[in-house]
């Protein structure tokens, strides 16, 4: 813990510091507490008000609940050094067995207890994914509707076996059980407390249990020493809300926080000036996009959409807005999607001349195209819009940017192009292509995208087939059509930057949560 | 309380002035060569009354403040000495202020702390200067109020200044000045903010107190009447210098310095009338004259009621009937609160009557906010007391006049008409390019009048147009008003608290008291043979700039009643020396006698019928 005691940095304040030297006091950093394990303090940009694991799904909620709950299967992000691993390993389930295209069966560990010392049972698992909580018409956790698999039945086979049956073929089920939908909660306690009660005093099986929850201010977790994966390495973990980025950085440098989340690439030079802190980060499994509403406007012509697509220089956006840290993908795919991913797929290239040619062919007359964005709801979205507007103008596209105040205004009357993002929550090609661009999706249903029948047929294949060369081919073919049709345009993968005390052994992962389990958190 | 002259002071050698100012100069700290008071030397003989008279900026008040070492922070005394009984006074005047020399000021309402009741104010001073405390101090406070003839003294102790009238507050200030039993009282414009009848009361009080206590008095005023009334010895100041000093009777009878003479000449004479000699002989106005020029204005049963705080209703104007003939100038005179300004505003349509009608040239006058009102501006104009508040500070005088000319499409050549108008009010062409703040008070009022004349109005209401001006300027502006009235063939209403000014410019005078006209008649008749007891009191309170004519005045008692609590019967009866039982029961009507004079007084009515009022009552 020597990293916590260090001399005041010499700088422009040396004189004042010297004068005040006698009075200078170090704030007792939690790590100095009398314990064999340190108290970890993480400065976050925000917190959720409900710690029920599905209610908490968001970029500020998942980093907390991931420390409190476990999933049946475990995606080991750290199998890759850059935190992008896609290996599915046993979790609360020791094994998974696929009975047919619609049915999987899991075998549960028998040594897992919840934070209230009650053992985890097959009933708890069935409830967590069951009709009452997840897939009925009025689920106890209403938000489950956005994330749930297309389940038909979840049943307890015996004390250590639970069976999942979907309505249609779903070969991604195993991956879903390792995703944000897969956190297991105790049935009796949950039914007793209800959604709000549970969200206030939640209980899981994870490495840390709730100690204190001050809404809007902090969540304090303490080590669950009975954790089945082993003894947690921190005595407590405190997530404290510090909304202002500059303040988070200051508190990190002053030693009050061990980790500061959601920093900007701009902060990197500052972090580099101090030896005891550093920046660590990862590209998130998410893509910022442009999406088009084509109803009754010039965007109904795919040549105009493609022209817009061709104008964008993603590397330039990355360099200018993200200090080169964001990810530019080769097509609308990520490596973690597995064997359907094609590393040799050609990356997107800027081609203004090509765009001009397309526009000429389409007979585009300079009719205005509006591009709507919220004021940086998506990080850097306004700056990106302005850069793209320049390129579009070069090609002759007359794009007007409208900065809106809320989503109602963005999606309201007169919508043409706007920004959007797609997450990749499964290590599988089903997301986001078959969830956000399919036949019943908003883009096809409301935004007037007349997708070729082939495209929709390909999505059906991707959704229902197990991994195979045929599925991979279908995926790549769907991506070809997607790029040709350009109902939307991927831009880049955002970068999540953490500031951290250099001495702490911890790695970020490529998802919007933090891995604080014993194997990824070490103190000198 | 001592009646004799002060014994605490060192006995003064014979002939040593009680107070002497020798070679006093006052400068601005940042411009030490600009003398605001220049080498002033004055003496106050023991128990005497020294008057300092001058116009604004003459340095008279600074001289007075120097005696107390109370000059504003930006100024300093650069030369001279102040001595009391021959002994120079130390800076800060410790032991002098309030104890040996006391001072009273112009606006008694503002010189009292609005948050302090009268009782603590007085007993605090008693404690400070005499060391009395508690009940003894309070008893002394009551005695002081008695000494200044304050009615119901004990009850006043709990009053705040805003609950008292101006005259009562000045009495309280005088009582406070007496608390230290001073040898000298400095009075800086002590009656300027008061009504004429109240002014007379206060001057009488000061005279009585001097006689009782043998106090020396230094009286500063711009008003020769006040000085003539109260001072034995007078110094005239001009531009920081004493231009003349002499015993009062000699100064007023044979002023030596031309400045003194010219000031005395500026006082409206008691006979004669402004520009009257020239009225017929003047060349006709070269401005185009409309065929319809010269209309009259008439008020019929005009009333205006305001709602005061707490829901009380105040009759500012009560059933007034009045007709002004075409080309006539009617003077309206009365003390503050008598309703004369309300009347003026109603006449030009700036306020809406509660009941009654106003007819200008036979047509009803439109009130605010409407096309008719805007059109009526071409016939009806008003001139206020404070020209600075009605002129736009950001526009030149010329622009403002041309703007009016163009708005009302008076002429195609607005510019040359503007210059003509300026000439008509005796302004020069160069004034057209000036802003209001660059003009003197008199010039501003001329500019306002020129702007009012721009629309070629037929009727102009002048509301105290010269009250804010110095005496010499006042005379010029009055002359100018009389002049343009003739040249423009105006029908005018001239409102003032000063009956001398009103008489000087008006053909007829209406005297108002508490929202009613109590007497109306030919100006000279009213002035020389007033019939109504109030008119008589008003005239009696007029101070003549001649000490030999210190009158045995008919001083009214008390103050005008609160308009929210109007007395029954004749509103004047509580103060009227002739009041009888009938007067409190029955309001008198305005009756016109054979000589054309109208009076609202039971006594006059009875006497007109040949009976003796005292007998009839």
């Amino acid at each position: 813990m020597s990293h916590l005691i260090r001399p005041t940095r010499r700088g422009f304040m040396t004189g004042a510091a010297a004068l005040a030297g006698a009075a200078t006091l170090r704030f007792p950093t939690p790590a100095l507490a009398q314990s064999d394990r340190p108290d970890l303090v993480i400065a976050v940009q925000g917190l959720v008000d409900n710690l029920e694991p599905i209610a908490a799904i968001s970029n500020v909620g998942m980093r907390v609940v991931n420390a409190m709950y476990d999933t049946l299967l475990y995606r080991n992000f750290l199998a890759n050094p850059d935190g992008s691993g896609a290996v599915i390993e046993p979790g609360l389930a020791t094994g998974v067995e696929r009975l047919n295209d619609r049915t999987v069966r899991v075998t549960l560990r028998d040594d897992v207890v919840f934070h209230n010392s009650e053992p985890m049972t097959a009933q708890d698992v069935a409830f967590s994914f069951g009709y009452d909580r997840m897939f009925g018409p009025e689920p106890l956790t209403p938000r489950a509707a956005y994330f749930r698999p297309d389940l038909a039945e979840v049943s307890v086979i015996d004390d250590s076996t639970v069976e999942f049956v979907t309505n249609g073929p779903d070969y991604a089920m195993e991956k879903r059980l390792a995703s944000w939908i897969g956190w297991v909660v105790p049935e009796g306690y949950f039914r007793d407390k209800g959604l709000d009660g549970f969200g206030t005093a939640p209980i899981g099986t994870g490495p840390y249990k709730l100690k204190e929850f001050l809404r809007g201010d902090r969540v304090v977790l303490e080590a669950n020493d009975d954790y089945w994966r082993g003894r947690p390495t921190a005595r407590t973990v405190t997530f404290v809300v510090v909304p202002e980025t500059a303040t988070r950085v200051a508190g990190l440098i002053s030693g009050e926080y061990h980790i500061a989340c959601a920093l900007n690439p701009d902060n990197i030079p500052l972090l580099q000036r101090y030896n005891e802190v550093e920046g660590r980060g990862a590209q998130i499994e998410n893509t910022h996009l442009v999406v088009h509403n084509q109803v009754d406007n010039v965007l109904a012509d795919k040549r105009v959409r493609r022209a817009m697509h061709k104008c964008i220089d993603r590397d330039a956006l990355n360099t200018a807005l993200w200090a080169g840290l964001a990810g530019v993908t080769n097509g609308f795919q990520l490596p973690m999607q597995g064997e359907a991913y094609d590393p040799n797929r050609a990356p997107y290239r800027q081609d203004i001349e090509g765009a001009k040619a397309l526009l000429a062919e389409a007979g585009y007359s300079g009719k205005p195209i509006t591009y709507r964005t919220l004021n940086d709801y998506y990080v850097n979205s306004v700056a990106a819009a302005q850069a793209m507007q320049q390129w579009w103008q070069e090609a002759g596209l007359n794009v007007e940017i409208e900065i809106k105040e809320n989503w109602g205004q963005v999606t309201g009357d007169g919508l043409m192009s706007r920004n959007w993002s797609n997450g990749f929550p499964l290590t599988d090609p089903v997301t986001p292509l078959t969830t956000d661009w399919h036949e019943g999706s908003n883009v096809q249903k409301n935004y007037g995208w007349k997708a070729p029948e082939e495209f929709n047929a390909l999505l059906g294949k991707i959704r229902s087939m197990p991994n195979s060369p045929e599925r991979s081919a279908a995926f790549q073919r769907a991506l070809d059509i997607f790029d040709d049709e350009a109902p939307g345009t991927p831009l880049y993968r955002p970068y999540e930057l953490y500031g951290i005390q250099s001495s702490i052994g911890w790695s970020p992962v490529t998802f919007e949560w933090m891995e604080l389990r014993p194997h990824n958190l070490a103190f000198d | 309380m001592r009646i004799s002259s002060p014994s605490s002071a060192a006995p003064a050698a014979a002939g040593t002035p009680q107070l002497s100012i020798d070679g006093l100069s006052v400068v601005h700290r940042t411009s030490p060569h600009n003398l605001l008071v220049s080498d002033v030397s004055l003496q106050l003989p023991p128990g005497g009354a020294l008057g300092i008279v001058g116009e604004s900026g003459s340095g008279k008040s600074l001289t007075c403040l120097s005696i107390m070492d109370l000059l504003p922070g930006a100024l300093r005394q650069s030369a001279g000495a102040i001595r009391m009984n021959g002994a120079p006074l130390a800076p800060g005047r410790k032991g002098i202020r309030g104890r040996r020399i006391a001072m009273i000021f112009q606006d008694p309402g503002a010189t009292m702390n609005p948050l302090r009741r009268i009782g603590p104010f007085l007993s605090g001073l008693v404690k400070l200067h005499r060391g009395l405390a508690g009940a003894a101090a309070e008893a002394e406070a009551v005695r002081l109020l008695d000494a200044v003839r304050m009615p119901a003294a004990r009850e006043r102790l709990r009053a705040y200044p805003h609950e008292l009238s101006g005259g009562q507050n000045q009495r309280v200030m005088i009582a406070g000045a007496l608390a230290g039993d001073p040898e000298i009282l400095l009075a800086d414009e002590p009656t300027t903010a008061l009504d004429v009848t109240t002014q007379a009361q206060i001057l009488d009080l000061l005279a009585e107190l001097r006689a009782e206590r043998g106090m020396g008095l230094v009286l500063v005023s711009h008003d020769f009447g006040v000085i003539a009334e109260a001072a034995d010895h007078v110094a005239v100041m001009h531009a920081g210098c004493v231009v003349e000093q002499a015993p009062a009777d000699r100064l007023f009878s044979s002023p030596q310095h031309p400045y003194t003479a010219s000031l005395l000449a500026s006082i409206p004479p008691e006979t004669g009338r402004a520009s009257i000699a020239e009225r017929q002989g003047r060349p006709p106005n070269n401005l185009p004259s409309q065929a319809t020029r010269g209309i009259g204005i008439e008020a019929r049963r005009l009333s205006r009621t305001f709602e005061a705080r707490g829901g009380a209703r105040v009759n500012a104007l009560n059933d007034v009937n009045l007709a002004v003939q075409p080309g006539e100038m009617l003077g309206v005179v009365g003390e503050s609160g008598c309703g004369k300004s309300t009347f003026g505003r109603l006449l030009v349509g700036l306020d809406k009557p509660s009941s009654g009608d106003i007819l200008a040239g036979g047509e009803p006058v439109a009130t605010k906010d409407g096309v008719a009102f805007r059109l009526s501006r071409r016939r009806l104009q008003m001139v206020w007391q404070d020209p600075l508040s009605v002129l736009n500070p950001r526009l030149t005088i010329g622009y403002q006049i041309m703007e009016v000319l163009q708005t009302h499409r008076i002429t195609d050549d607005a510019e040359s008409r503007m210059f003509e108008l300026l000439r008509a009010v005796n302004l020069k062409a160069e004034h057209a390019s000036r802003y209001a703040h660059q003009l003197s008070g008199g010039q501003r009022q001329r500019a306002v009048i020129a702007r009012a004349l721009a629309v070629e109005p037929q009727i102009v209401v002048f509301d105290e147009p010269v009250s804010a001006l110095d005496l010499s300027v006042q005379a010029q502006v009055i002359e100018m008003i009389a002049d343009i009235r003739n040249r423009f063939d105006l029908t005018g209403i001239f409102i003032s608290h000063d009956i001398r000014v009103v008489r000087y410019v008006s053909d007829r005078i209406a005297v108002m008291y508490l929202g009613r006209i109590v007497e109306i008649g030919q100006a000279d008749d009213i002035f020389h043979t007033p019939k109504h007891p109030y008119t008589q009191a008003l005239l009696s309170a007029v101070l003549s700039p001649d000490p030999k004519r210190r009158k045995s005045r008919k001083i009214l008692r008390g103050d005008p009643p609160d308009p929210a609590h109007m007395p029954s019967g004749c509103p004047f009866h509580p103060r009227c020396p002739r009041a009888a039982v009938r007067c409190s029961a029955e309001p008198p009507a305005l009756h016109t006698s054979t000589d054309g004079r109208s009076t609202a007084c039971h006594a006059v009515d009875v006497e007109t019928s040949g009976l003796a009022w005292e007998f009839a009552a």
Binding site: V48, Y146, G216, G408, S441, N442 | R99, D107, N113, P114
Partner: protein, 307 residues
């Protein structure tokens, strides 16, 4: 006086009604809250309908409005659109936190502003006056954001005297209170200076000097009480304004009060909370105004004794 209080109170209530109604309507016509809360693209229509029913958004506006008032009279202001918790509870747990900040800020701004303003007025034109006024201009002009960050870097990062943010201990209070109190204290100083100068120029102060009172007595008896009347008005209005000023400071210093709640609720379009906060803010403003009126009347005998 009773009539005065009555009229002012009625006026205050009418103002509150107007504010609530306006916010209610404006918040609902500037965008469908459900669209803002739920990812429309991926939300099944039946879920959207469920949410609409939950918050009565399926009813006509006037019915929602009537329901809102009924709720207020039953002591509830609805449930958070985002997590369904009772709005009154959510706000109630934040209020003491903000009040702590506001209370100390109020004390500090007076402690800074009043003496500085009085000293400047009494030494008009001197170096004291010029220094105070220059500091006042700087203090007022420096945005709270810049001031806050500068203080964090000086006191938390460089000197390590104070915690960079958060709340709980007296040390945590110092920087946020100073940030707010500097800005408001600067304004108070200017108003105090003006008010004292105004009174110093009044004839009754000159009269008191002529009566032989010592300078301290004049200050205590003539100047301070009379200057207090306009100052009470200004300071009272600051009470309301402080809440607005707290938004930025709560943000920078991670102070979990209602200012920050407002920011997050507006961003999340949590109408129920925004609505309740607007009601709270306007009630604070209105009550502050009312108190100012009453204090003004109480301090000023010419109003107190009338009516």
């Amino acid at each position: 006086m009773i009539r005065f209080v009555f009229i002012r109170t009625i006026r205050a209530i009418l103002t509150a009604l107007t504010v609530v109604t306006t916010t209610f309507v404006v918040l609902r016509i500037t965008g469908d809250p459900v669209q803002s809360l739920l990812p429309v693209e991926t939300t099944p229509p039946e879920i959207i309908e469920l949410y609409r029913r939950l918050w009565n958004l399926d009813q006509p506006l006037w019915q929602q409005y009537v329901g809102y008032w009924q709720g207020i009279f039953h002591g509830t202001m609805g449930r958070s659109f985002v997590d369904g918790r009772d709005v009154v509870g959510i706000i109630a747990e934040r209020i003491p936190i903000t009040l702590e900040l506001m209370g100390w800020t109020f004390v500090a701004m007076l402690a800074i502003g009043l003496p500085a303003g009085i000293a400047a007025a009494l030494n008009r034109g001197s170096w004291i006056d010029r220094t105070v006024m220059a500091a006042a201009v700087a203090g007022h002009a420096l945005p709270g954001y810049v001031m806050g960050i500068l203080m964090i870097w000086l006191f938390a990062v460089e000197l390590r005297w104070l915690p960079s943010s958060g709340y709980g201990t007296p040390q945590h209070l110092i920087m946020p209170v100073l940030t707010l109190a500097t800005a408001y204290g600067a304004v108070i100083a200017r108003f105090t200076r003006a008010a004292v100068l105004e009174v110093l120029g009044q004839p009754h102060v000159l009269a008191a000097r002529s009566q032989g009172w010592p300078g301290r007595t004049i200050m205590r008896r003539e100047v301070i009480p009379n200057a207090a009347i306009p100052l009470v008005t200004i300071i009272g209005l600051f009470l309301g304004g402080l809440i607005g000023g707290s938004v930025i400071v709560e943000w920078i210093f991670a102070w979990p009060g209602i200012g920050r709640l407002l920011v997050t609720s507006v961003a999340g379009r949590d109408l129920a909370i925004v609505q309740a906060l607007v009601l709270l803010f306007s009630a604070t403003m209105i009550i502050a105004n009312l108190l100012v009126d009453l204090a003004y009347a109480f301090l000023n005998p010419s109003i107190r004794l009338r009516g």
